[in-house]
Symmetry: C3
Subunit: 276 residues, 3 copies
């Protein structure tokens, strides 16, 4: 199984998928091609919300503002999954998450994709890569590499030419919130298609606050289990499906209501004994 | 076969699909994730235009403004199809349509999804559901239920824990037009991606009017078999692929041209002897 | 294998795909449903960028501003591929490209879809087509025809009722640029989702210019191998993945920056000895 994620929109994913289909009979699943465009950090956040719900697979990910520069193509083996994409950090947070799940797997191995292999060029064979464009490595570099990883197997893809172990991949850590007794300081990690605003503040800070209210950047908002417990157009604070604090508007867009964008600081303050 | 329809846009469907893939080898087909956001009625209309073209399947549908409230999750068995989604009416019109098709099937059975089953939690087994978020029941409640329905079979899914018959599902009937001798009164049911405006007035009222004109909310418009029979940017009345009266603009957007939106009243008036 | 491409957006492709699934077990792949709306020429360009990356398949293509008029439905056999769609030229450029690839295939054969076949109407059989709407031939005409082509086989679909050879399909040739010693005159063929502006000027005119600059409609722009070699928001000229000259902005939209739209003239001028 190979999954595809990118910030390509349409129609470029169809070329990438054709290249995969030329080289493998693997089941292909488009996860999303609407990752935040050229935004490595928010894309990394979304991958953490998606890939852990999938069975072991080769995950092809292309969010690649540095396409055509000398950044490497890498493969991360994380538990029973393999991630293929650019060495810009986008794969790292979800790889850590996948590697630490399951029954004592825990391993995270990094490989660099090399292009010089001396193997034949027939599309039915693995390597070397076709002559690559400088602007569409999803089609010309990452998809062929993902096909090779799938064909050889997630546990054994490196036993052959084209991949070499590396220690020095670009790291990326999603920012962590600072949580105190009556307040938390974090930032807005992502805004979803509904306009819900997802912070990096862990949801457990709202325990005991449901039915009460907290201050978000100075404004008191009700703390609710879900959207529809406030009136339409009403604002609320909740714990989203990603187990983070989320500010939202029932049947409306939170991002418009709060005037926020990704990366902004979020201050949450509450009283120790719930009130309203 | 399991189909997926929602108003999620991107990327949440990928988590829902991963949950399905974790639990079943069924063929998965995304129908649309761009149903009108949190609009139960227009979504119900679109489902009526899509699902009847599919072979028997489990249809997972999530348009759920009441997520996390005490509305039930339900399964409707309609002919050889099963529909899984929230109990807010969105499944009902298409279920009635599917139940009354085919060779004397006609049955429409309603089940409520229950969560307390005492069965093991291993993802390889059916029940119980994982601890659910309050905000993403597509992933945590409906998708697991759809996987169970598929695994047990559309004709026998209720023979086991997790589902109980119910009579009291939320009903929804799409509004019907009133048709007279020389006029019809209806409303705008939906606007498609092209800007074509779909009413609930049955197409047969235009019989004998092609090549003539009718009045739509007081404006005379030509009645044509299709768009390209008027000049580019020209307005027209036609019978859409859903067999309803549609007002449209050739190579343009009808909704902009007519200044209409879903739910508005549409008055159609014609003369008994065609003229132009 | 059947691929689907259209300008439908959402949700109409789901009805078309259901009709295919009713009639065939072929693997179905959505390529894109966001082809430029009712723009036959730019859609033809994009098909040239997508289909050649796929293995032999039946390619269903619906960009059809003339739906419901007397334009024919056609099938083009191009090499080992078959293309099914409207006779408006949209299939022709990619068919020529597919026909001239491979080991001496080279053939391009044209067939018209006829509807009168006298065969039974059961959906499990091939013909005739269901009664067609006038406004959704993707669902009612092209998809059933594609299912028949797939079932009978790309090399033998015409050996049976429903298709007759024709010579007179509507032709379409994408405009060619005029290339001189120090300048080239072309036009903007397409704008992609990133805002990159794709001309019809062949990329080889930029050989020897990388690291230098050229004039684009009078403005000097750096010639680069890829986007990230200029600063964010910086403009550049490059050779895109389609091997054409492309004007773009690193991490920004070229179309906004240059104020261009599809079809505009593009003048490229350079000096014979690179400078900067």
């Amino acid at each position: 199984m190979i999954t595809l994620s990118s910030d390509f929109g349409s129609p470029y994913p169809a070329a990438m998928k054709g290249v995969l289909r030329q080289r493998t009979d693997a089941d292909l699943f488009d996860l999303t091609h609407d990752l935040p465009r050229q935004d490595v950090r928010e894309s990394a956040f979304w991958l953490c919300q998606l890939l852990p719900y999938w069975p072991p697979a080769v995950h092809l990910v292309v969010v690649d503002p540095g396409v055509g520069t000398d950044r490497d193509a890498i493969v991360l083996r994380a538990g029973k999954h393999a991630l293929v994409g650019p060495d810009n950090g986008v794969l790292v947070p979800v790889a850590r998450k996948l590697a630490t799940r399951g029954r004592g797997v825990g391993s995270l191995e990094c490989y660099r994709v090399t292009e010089s292999t001396g193997e034949p060029t027939d599309p039915g064979t693995d390597w070397p890569l076709n002559p690559a464009s400088s602007t569409f490595h999803g089609r010309d570099l990452f998809a062929p590499a993902a096909a090779v990883v799938h064909r050889r197997g997630i546990s054994s893809f490196q036993d052959g030419s084209g991949f070499e172990p590396t220690e020095s991949v670009v790291d990326l850590t999603l920012p962590r919130a600072s949580v105190g007794q009556t307040s938390a300081t974090g930032e807005l990690l992502a805004i979803d298609d509904f306009g819900n605003c997802i912070t990096n503040i862990p949801g457990h800070v709202l325990e005991g606050q449901f039915g009460s209210s907290v201050e978000v950047n100075g404004e008191a908002l009700p703390v609710e289990r879900t959207y529809a417990t406030v009136a339409p157009e009403g604002a609320l604070v909740t714990v989203g499906s990603h187990e983070k604090v989320e500010i939202a508007v029932n049947r409306g867009r939170g991002d418009d209501r709060f005037g926020v964008e990704t990366g902004m600081a979020i201050e949450l303050a509450w009283e120790t004994s719930p009130k309203r």
